[in-house]
Structure formats: C-alpha cells, structure tokens
C-alpha cells in the first residue's frame, strides 16, 4: 500500500527534466534562456553533493556533466511555478555537443565457463583403417619391380652379398606397406543456431512524480519506488543531507518491467537537490523508463553417430547500455541459463557484455537468466528438428534423470520436468499438431493460414547469486516487542502474498494469537536490501531463514527480557551453487499466421508448474496470466478475445515460495520462437511484426 501522506501544496514548484537525443557526445555548451527568479535551473554542477548513483559497488552519474551517454540522461532540471511554464522554459533550452562520438570499447567484460575439452570435438574423431592392398601401393610395387630390374642390370657385376642385402631391404619395405594404418578424421555432425532478441525500450504511459519538502530538520521525499533504501541513499549522497533525517514515502505504482527500480532514485535526488536550493517544496514529473538491450546467442552442438549431443559451445552477447552496472551478476545469471539440461562430455560458454549509448539495461524483469534459458530451449527445439524428432520427444530422449551439477545450478531432478512436458504435450496434442503444422506449411494457400506450435520447459531461479550475497551484506531484523508484537525490519516494499506467508510462518513458530501481531516495517532506516521482485531470492530463501530465526527468538524469549532483536542474513551464503531452483515449468504455445494480414496471433497457451507452497492458486494463476500476456505483447504478438490460457499446478515437496517469473518469461519467449519458426519456416528475431514476417516470406520466395 502507498503511504497516506499529505503533501504540502502551498508554494510548491513544479519541474521537468531536459534530455538530449545527441548521445555519445561531449557537452560543449548548454544555452539556458533568461528566466526570472520564480524559475530555477539545476545542472550537475549545482548539485550539493556527489553526482552519483551507487548500487552494490556499481556507479553511474545522476545528471550528465561532460557528455551525454544515453538519450534519457537528465541534463538540466527546469523548475517553474507550474508545469506549463516549465514546459515552455524547457523548450528554450539548447545544447551544443561535440561532433566526434566518444569512442567505446566493443566488449567490456567476458567470462568463460565449461568442462571437458571442446577442441577434441572441433577437430572430429579419428578412425584408424588397415588397408590390405590399396590401388596406389600396387602401382608402387610395379614401379619397384621395374627399378629392381634396372638395378639388376646395372649392378650385375657387383658382388652377391650386396644383392642379398638390397633384396632384404625391398622385402622389409614391402612388409611395411602391408602393415600401414591410415588415420581418417571424421567431423562430428554439427548443429548451429543463432538466437537473437532485439532491444525493447519501455516507457510507461503513466507519469510518476517525485515530491520533496522540508519539515523541521527533516527532508521528506515522496516517490514510487521498488527500492526505498536506494532512494534514501542516493538523495543523501546527491544533496549531502544527513541520511538519518531523510524520510521516504512510497507512492503507489505498478511495475511492469522493473522501471521503478533505479530511475526514481535519480529523479528523487534531483528533486531533493532543487527543493533544498529553492527552500520550497518541489515536484518533478516524468515517465518511468526501462530498457532491455539486444541479446545474441550463437551455439554449436556436436552430435555423435547416434545423433546424441556430446559437446556444445556457446557465445552469448549482451548489450548492457551506457553504464556498466552489476556486470558480474548479469554474467552469472546469463551463464545459469546458458548451460543446457541434457548431458554433455564437453561444454564451453562465453558471456560477452557490451556497452552502448543506451539506457542502462541490466535489469528488465530479469537479469539475463530468462533470455539465456530461452536461447537454450530454442536450441533444443532446433536440435530436435535436425535429428528428425519432435521437440517434445527429443527432450524426453535427451534429458537424463539428473542434471549435471555445475557451479551455477545443483544436480536437479529432471523427472519433474519430464512429467510436466508429458502433461503439456498431452493437453495440447503437441505431437499431432507439430506434424500436421509441418505438413500444412508446405502448402499454405490451401488453408489461408499457417500454424505453429512450440514447447519449452525449464527451471526457475530467483534472487542474487550466492557469490553476490557473500560480497554484499543483506540482512533483516526481527524484533519481539514488549507488547508481544513481532516487527520485521525490511527495506523491501513488502506487499503481495509473500508477506501473508511470512506472517503465517511467524505466527506458527512464535505461537502468536493472530497474524496481526506481525508488522512489516518498510521504512528507510531498514537493514534489508531486497531489490526488485525478480532479484528477490529472499522470496524463496527468506521464508526458510525467517523460520530458523523465529525459533531462535522463541528460545531467547525464555531467558531474556523483552524487547529482543535478532539480525540475520536474508539469504543462504553457504549454498554450493550460485542459484537454487525454485520451480519447474513447461509450456506450449500455438500461433496462427493469416496469409493475408501476416499479423501473428497466439491461439492458445498451455502451462504447467511444479511448485512448493501455494498461498492462493487463484491469485498465482492471475499473476502468471498477466506475465504471459505481457511477455507475448513484448514479443509483438497480437492478442484478441479468442486467446485461451490454461494454467495448472503440481505440488512438489519443497518449502518456501516459488518464484515463477524468470522461468515463465523464458519459456514464453522460447516456445513462441519455435512456434513462429514452424509457422514461417524461417528463423525469427523477437519482437516480431507483420512487416518482419512479410519481409521473411519475400526473402524466402526470392531464394
């Protein structure tokens, strides 16, 4: 719930942000119009403190100072008596930039991971053949006989001894040629794919505003944010104001792609700086922005004689935007998704993180796991087609009972995934549709449309990696008050069903009369950093940590006087892998492509999840539906009223709340890619439009 705070409107000033589209260039001059004293212009130079946004060791400037690095980068904030005056004043601002573009390094960060020797598979396998009398050796023998005859004639006068030795040598040579073994190098059958996702820029239709005002010695900041602690820290750093006297009020928001994560902190700190300079309340209005950079995965799989995958090499390239933020963590997420579930003798993966003059794009509902898993699953479907199997049959054939233990994921049981795949294939009649669609594509004019069906399955992860958790402290505080209430101190904007779960856990463990005795304090002085929804592994592991510490608190209560407080780690720092699996899911998507409009339509979606605790299956179904629809629209799909989404759940023995966000996104992208590829007959790049499909079709006709 949003804070119910009365914002003082008296003497309020309103502001807008000036940005420039001339990115990657140095700022020569900023021309500001002459304005009266009712106006105020804020630039990077006028900030009271540091011009810096910092998150987990990564830094980026709040306002552009010397160069414009991305289009939405705030350059100037125009504060006026009302928004209309601010808009008029902003129109008069001009920026002069240098002509030369700032040079960028192509690849900034690269990380490799693998096992086995991939070189052995690149070269191929050796076969030794014993040849009895090949045609060449017969010719050689004839030549030798001729030579021997000539030698006899020449050396007829020489001694017999020499003759004998020569004959022996010839005989030995003959023996050698008979025993010679020929080594033939056979190349392994290769299947290569390129999976590409174009960048997505999300600008919300709704405005959000950051409002700042002073009250006594404290500074109040009201902003919609997924991360109140980051806002408070950034405001303190940018304004130089005492961190303890900054009060954050969270206004209502609805995040679709984590756009209220970092950008509000930037806007709030600019607003706070303007408010302190003008000594009056200031409100700045803007739209929330987020971006997912371009992603490209090149993958080669080597197959043995039985057409089983035996080795694989992958190059996964990610565009992270203008500033390097959390690049190490992004790499870990992407690497977890890149490792396939089927067994391999050798594997080599390289993650390349690149920079561009675009909005920093390290978190967009995922940190790269979903897209990497989508690429892996898409490759499995292509592999199946090359082998001559349906993607469903291939997965059942290639997946073993247990996944290989890697540094990134534990050896998870693949039986659950196989069961989910079978259920989904049955419900969607996958095998029948797959073969009939393949047949239908060869003659689309008969039907007036082509159809495609895709299937995918995967494991969900959530939260920061174990390495990240060990590097950065993420703690929570549990207090047993004198009145018998439990206060959980958290910077997380605690809302949603997860909170009800935690209340239930605490009520049961501490034998409280009701769940109302548990209070979640989400103030800015909190000790826990949860970050965005997708990164909150604390949804999964926090319940376990909470349970353990509630027991500790209970035993302490026997000996100590109230109030008692315990501070504990939010996540498990000693987990052997970077991530723990939180849920399994399988999905099939059927698409239809009308031959007249080429506008891709999703006909039906089938999804099944294997999860631990479910608080309310109706709410979970509804949120999954929303996520599926949002991902489909992001991929350029047309949604109409005939679309049906079938979601079902299977309970598995696991404690904790599953996070299905990452896996859902991944399997939607991957099954949609394979379905579209079947319908079009060409490799597709998402998001796709009717024009792209028409272009692909024409290209096919020309060929």
């Amino acid at each position: 719930m949003a804070d119910k705070t009365n914002v003082p409107r008296l003497n309020m000033r309103y502001g807008l942000i000036y940005t420039s589209s001339e990115v990657g260039r140095k700022i020569k001059e900023i021309k500001i119009p002459e304005l009266n004293q009712k106006y105020f212009i804020l630039r990077a130079e006028s900030l009271q403190g540091e011009n810096l946004l910092e998150f987990a060791g990564s830094q980026m400037p709040v306002m552009a100072k010397d160069a414009v690095m991305y289009e939405e980068e705030p350059i100037v904030a125009v504060i006026a008596p009302d928004y209309e005056s601010a808009a008029i004043a902003r129109r008069e601002i001009a920026i002069e930039t240098g002509e030369e573009e700032i040079s960028e390094e192509a690849s900034l960060y690269q990380e490799d991971y693998g096992w086995g020797n991939i070189e052995d598979f690149r070269l191929g396998w050796k076969e030794t053949i014993k040849r009895e009398k090949p045609a060449e050796s017969v010719i050689k023998e004839e030549e030798k006989e001729e030579k021997a005859a000539e030698a006899d004639e020449e050396k007829s006068g020489e001694g017999e001894e020499k003759e004998d030795t020569e004959k022996e040598e010839v005989a030995a040579e003959e023996e050698k040629t008979e025993e010679e073994e020929e080594v033939i190098i056979h190349e392994y059958k290769k299947v290569s794919t390129t999976f590409s996702l174009d960048p997505i820029k999300y600008t919300s239709f709704t405005f959000f505003s950051a409002t700042c005002w002073s009250e006594g010695s404290s500074l109040h900041v009201m902003v919609p944010t997924q991360y109140p602690k980051l806002v408070a820290d950034t405001v303190a750093r940018v304004t130089g104001f005492d961190r303890r006297k900054i009060i954050i009020h969270t206004s209502q928001y609805s995040e679709t792609s984590d756009e209220y994560l970092f950008y509000p902190a930037i806007i709030a700190s600019i607003t706070a700086s303007a408010s302190l300079s003008m000594k009056c309340p200031v409100e700045i209005k803007t739209r929330a922005i987020n971006r997912r950079g371009a992603i490209k995965t090149k993958r080669i799989t080597y197959l043995n004689n039985d057409l089983r995958p035996i080795a694989e090499e992958v190059v996964h390239t990610l565009d992270i935007g203008a500033y390097q933020m959390l690049e190490r963590e992004v790499e870990r997420h992407a690497m977890t998704g890149i490792i396939p579930s089927y067994p391999l003798q050798a594997f080599k993966a390289s993650i390349k993180i690149e920079k561009s003059f675009n909005f920093p794009s390290f978190i967009y509902s995922s940190m790269g796991y979903s897209e990497a898993l989508a690429a892996t699953e898409y490759h499995s479907s292509v592999l199946a087609k090359e082998i001559g199997m349906s993607p469903y049959e291939f997965r059942l054939w290639a997946l073993k009972d247990k996944r290989k233990f890697t540094d990134y994921l534990p050896a998870t049981q693949m039986g659950d995934i196989k069961r989910l795949l079978t259920d989904i294939a049955m419900k969607s009649s996958f095998s029948r549709k797959w073969s009939s669609n393949d047949l239908g594509r060869s003659n689309p004019s008969l039907l007036g449309y082509t159809k495609g069906i895709g299937i995918a399955a995967g494991t969900g992860i959530a939260g920061f990696s174990t390495s990240f958790v060990t590097e950065h402290e993420y703690q929570a505080k549990l207090t047993y008050t004198q009145r018998g209430a439990i206060v959980v101190d958290t910077s997380a904007y605690s809302r949603g069903t997860a909170v009800n779960f935690w209340k239930k856990i605490l009520k049961e463990e501490l034998e409280l009369p009701s769940e109302d005795s548990v209070l979640f304090s989400n103030n800015d002085h909190s000790t826990i950093d949860s970050g965005p929804k997708i990164l909150s592994r604390f949804i999964c592991s926090f319940s376990k940590q909470l349970q353990t510490n509630a027991r500790k608190l209970k035993s302490l209560k026997e000996t100590e006087k109230l109030p008692i407080a315990i501070t504990f780690d939010v996540e498990n720092r000693f987990f052997p892998c970077e991530f723990d699996e939180s849920a399994y899911a399988a999905m099939a998507i059927e698409v239809m492509l009308p031959e007249t409009s080429f506008s891709p339509k999703v006909k039906e979606v089938w999804a099944e999840y294997s999860v631990g605790l479910i608080a309310d299956s109706a709410i979970l179904t509804s949120s999954i539906k929303q996520l599926i629809l949002r991902t489909l629209i992001e991929c350029g799909m047309e949604i109409d009223s005939s679309l049906r989404i079938n979601i079902s759940f299977v309970r598995r023995d696991a404690e904790g709340i599953a996070s299905v966000v990452s896996v859902t996104k991944a399997i939607v992208i991957s099954s949609l890619s394979s379905a579209l590829e079947q319908a079009i007959g060409k490799r597709v790049t998402l998001p796709i439009s009717a024009e792209d499909i028409l272009h692909l079709r024409r290209k096919g006709d020309e060929n």
Binding site: S204, F205, Y253, S254, S622, I633
Partner: protein, 159 residues
Amino acid sequence: MKIDCVIDGKALSLSLNSNKPLSLILAEDIQNASISSHCNGQMCGLCVVLMDGKAVLSCLIPAFEIRGKTIITFEGYAKTKNAKDIEKAYDLTHLRPCQSCYNARTLLIESLLSSNLTSREDVIREMESLKCHCLEAGDVIRIVQAASEIRRKRHARRS
C-alpha cells in the same frame, strides 16, 4: 478561460487554457491521484473517467468540453456503493486487474453496468479502449456478469 464543472461531487470554477486536456487538468490542477496517465491520445486507455455517466478517455477531452459536465474519477467513484459491487465481483471470480489498469478497467465496467450492457460483444468492444492485457476477454466477461448479478441482488434487497 473560466470553466464551471462538477468533479467528484465538487462544483468547481477553474481558470484554464481552453485546450488543456482533462487528464492534465485532473493531475496538475486538481491533484487527483487516480489519474497519472497522459499518453497524448495514444489510446493507452488508462485515463478513463466517467463524464455524465459515460466512460471517456480524459486525455482526448479538451477543457472547453467539460463545461457544465459532471466528471467522476476513480478517486470519487471508489467511495461509492457501486464500486463495492465491482470489488466484490473481483473477489468472487478471483480475477483482478493489474495495478496499472485497475482504475480504468473498474470505471469501464461501471460504464457497462450502468448502461446495462453485459453481453460478450459489448464487453469486448468496451474493453478494446484499454491497451493493458492483464485479463483475458473471457475473464472480464465473467467479472461483468458477476458484478451485474451482485448489483441486481443489491437493488432487489433495497426495493
């Protein structure tokens, strides 16, 4: 230009530019928290208000058009008994719009219920003005039908 209108039950006399869109008037001049969208006519559908009982996109309504009209925004509507009917329908069907379109969708449903339009075609046509696809068409129809039933029972009890 002086414009007299009724917004959320309050009679107001506003001094405005005649072409200022209603969505901006509500957000900037009235500080109405329920309207945060202004897509400049890109038809996002998130700025729905009830103008004389009919659902309209407030970003497409210029200031001069609201003269003498009664505007109900979600902020005002949420306190009414009619809003409770739709809220109950959400709970009953276990279907809930996402936070971003909650206000707009609820007002669209209200517009349908007050005009007694609950057929599948009417619901689909009305919901087309909303770009958010957090709910399937079938789900919205279920909500509308449930809300219609709740309202009918409430009216029957009262009479």
